[in-house]
């Protein structure tokens, strides 16, 4: 009896699967036909895109400055002068890697500032043609982004690579972040703990950022903030409202770990990371970016340090010194304001002296 059981079961399964086999073949045929349709639709979409691009590029001048290539409609926009101002800085930052711009032309649409007509849609960067040279050069530096050459860099930065060296205000902003960010990693970094700086900037492998960035109190506040939303699940909101806020750090951690990747706010933002990249380029010289692109994938700290040809610790120390040196000037008493106030006291006092109120009749 027991010897016959497996054979019986096998026969039953075969009998049940016979009609399914026919269905699978039919479904596969339908899926294949859908694939053909999708490929056809994609070809049409690509054709449409290339036609639109060709239309946008048509009738445009080509301006080349260094490796920068601009396709721009005819207008008084001082693009060549601005590009001539911007290119040396871009080249100094990216070094030999800047030649990549030759293969990545910028499509510029100079827009009449006085027109009421709608700006034509498209991929072109729209700029008013009465923009002056200096702001236009700054804009060109901002759009000179080679971040797409290294997706890991772009992900880590959380924004575009801006090839700048004059980020005094940027460093000052980072100083304020270091002092005020509700993160123990940022505060320890401010006090000189290089490992904490590494954590706060996500320079090493960040398997559990909630514990590396934040202390228990900070995690409690973060969990309360993140899950105080109608989009958070009811159970999680309940947990956040009770267990976590009542002091259960393990529940807070569980909640924060359940957040989608990238949702947990880093203690130091894009600005801080961009200043670190800037420090690396300043330390390593013009070839830094090229070397960075050549480094194998891995933690961002070691890649930046290798590109800058210094140790990771000394790169971080250099960055931290730059940030601390850019401490913003406190604002309570502007010197000019004090003198102006004294002047107004004298002015109004003199007005009082000249009053005629007591010439009573």
């Amino acid at each position: 009896m027991s010897d016959r059981l497996p054979a019986t079961c096998f026969a039953v399964v075969l009998a049940l699967c016979a009609p399914l086999a026919g269905q699978i073949a039919e479904l596969r045929a339908r899926a294949d036909s859908l694939l053909v349709e999708w490929q056809l639709a994609k070809q049409f979409a690509d054709l449409q895109d290339s036609l639109r691009l060709a239309r946008e590029r048509g009738g445009r001048d080509t301006i080349r400055v260094g490796a920068l290539v601009f396709l721009v409609n005819r207008s008084p926009l001082p693009l060549r002068e601005a590009a001539a101002t911007a290119w040396p800085q871009i080249e100094r930052f990216y070094g030999p890697a800047a030649q990549a711009f030759a293969q990545r032309p910028f499509l510029i649409q100079a827009v009449d500032p006085d027109t009421n007509e709608d700006v034509p849609p498209g991929w072109a960067i729209k700029i008013l043609w009465n923009t002056e040279v200096a702001p236009l050069a700054r804009a060109l530096i901002t759009i000179a982004d080679l971040g797409p050459l290294d997706p890991a860099l772009r992900d880590w930065l959380g924004g575009v690579v801006v090839p700048r060296f004059d980020s005094g205000p940027g460093h000052a902003e980072v100083y304020i972040q270091l002092v005020t960010a509700p993160s123990q990693a940022a505060q320890r970094c401010y006090r000189g703990d290089r490992a904490a700086c590494r954590d706060a900037l996500s320079l090493s492998d960040m398997t559990d950022p909630a514990t590396r960035w934040y202390g228990p109190d900070e995690r409690r506040a973060l969990a309360a903030m993140e899950f105080d939303s109608p989009f958070a699940g009811a159970r999680r909101r309940e947990q956040a409202a009770h267990a976590c806020e009542q002091g259960s750090d393990s529940i807070c951690l569980e909640l924060l770990r359940a957040l989608p990747p990238g949702r947990l706010p880093p203690p130091l933002d894009y600005q801080a990371r961009l200043t670190l990249l800037e420090t690396a380029v300043r330390v390593g010289g013009a070839g830094t970016f090229q070397r960075f692109l050549a480094t194998p994938a891995g933690p961002m700290g070691s890649r930046l340090a290798a590109a800058a040809r210094v140790s990771e610790d000394s790169l971080i120390e250099r960055w931290r010194n730059d940030v601390l040196a850019a401490r913003p000037t406190p604002v309570p008493l502007p010197v000019l304001g004090a003198w102006v106030a004294l002047g107004w006291i004298v002015v109004f006092g003199t007005c009082g002296l000249r009053s005629s109120r007591w010439r009573v009749s």
């Binding site: 309570p332 106030a341 004294l342 109004f348 009053s355």
Partner: protein, 218 residues
Amino acid sequence: MFRVVLYGQWKWSRIVVILGTIAGFALPILSVQGTTNDPTSAMKAGELLSVIQSWGVLYPVLAAAIGLLVAIATWAPDHRGRHVLALSLPLPRWRYVLLRFTAGLVLLVPAMLGVLAGAVLASATAALPPGLETYPVALAIRFALALGVAYAVFFAISAGTTRTAGIILGLIGAVIVVQVVASAAGIELDLTSPFLAVVMNLPGPLAIFTGRWMLIDV
């Protein structure tokens, strides 16, 4: 002569001076109540700056209030007495007004010192997170200047005739009326913003009142 004028003004405005001094002394101390050495209940740097900034709004308000009340108290008895005392004194008009103005400025000193003492005491007792510093002297100097400007403005207005005050108020009212009418008619006309920009930004007379009043900052 100055002592007599000062004594008279002190009698008329002592309540304002005393209350203003107490308020000026208390304000910085109250603003740092959230700081503590206990790490479990201490405020984070960002929170502390936010609280200090909120309290900071009260410094220019206090300066304007004390300046206004002392300036009114300076002239009120003269106005009530129809300036008989001033006219009976063997003094040129400008000298009498100068005595009144200077005496009023002297009466503002206790409030200025109150803020300085309060700010120094608050700075000495506050437990600050790393990276933050206190600026008691700068805050007290700024308060003194704002107090001086407020007093001078209201002194000049009080010393003027009713007609002068009417002209100033009329001009301000006219600007507001024109702005309202233009907005109602859909005309793009912005008179109030340029006016406020002139008055509130440097080198405008009220620029000292604007901006952040921070006893504690980075």
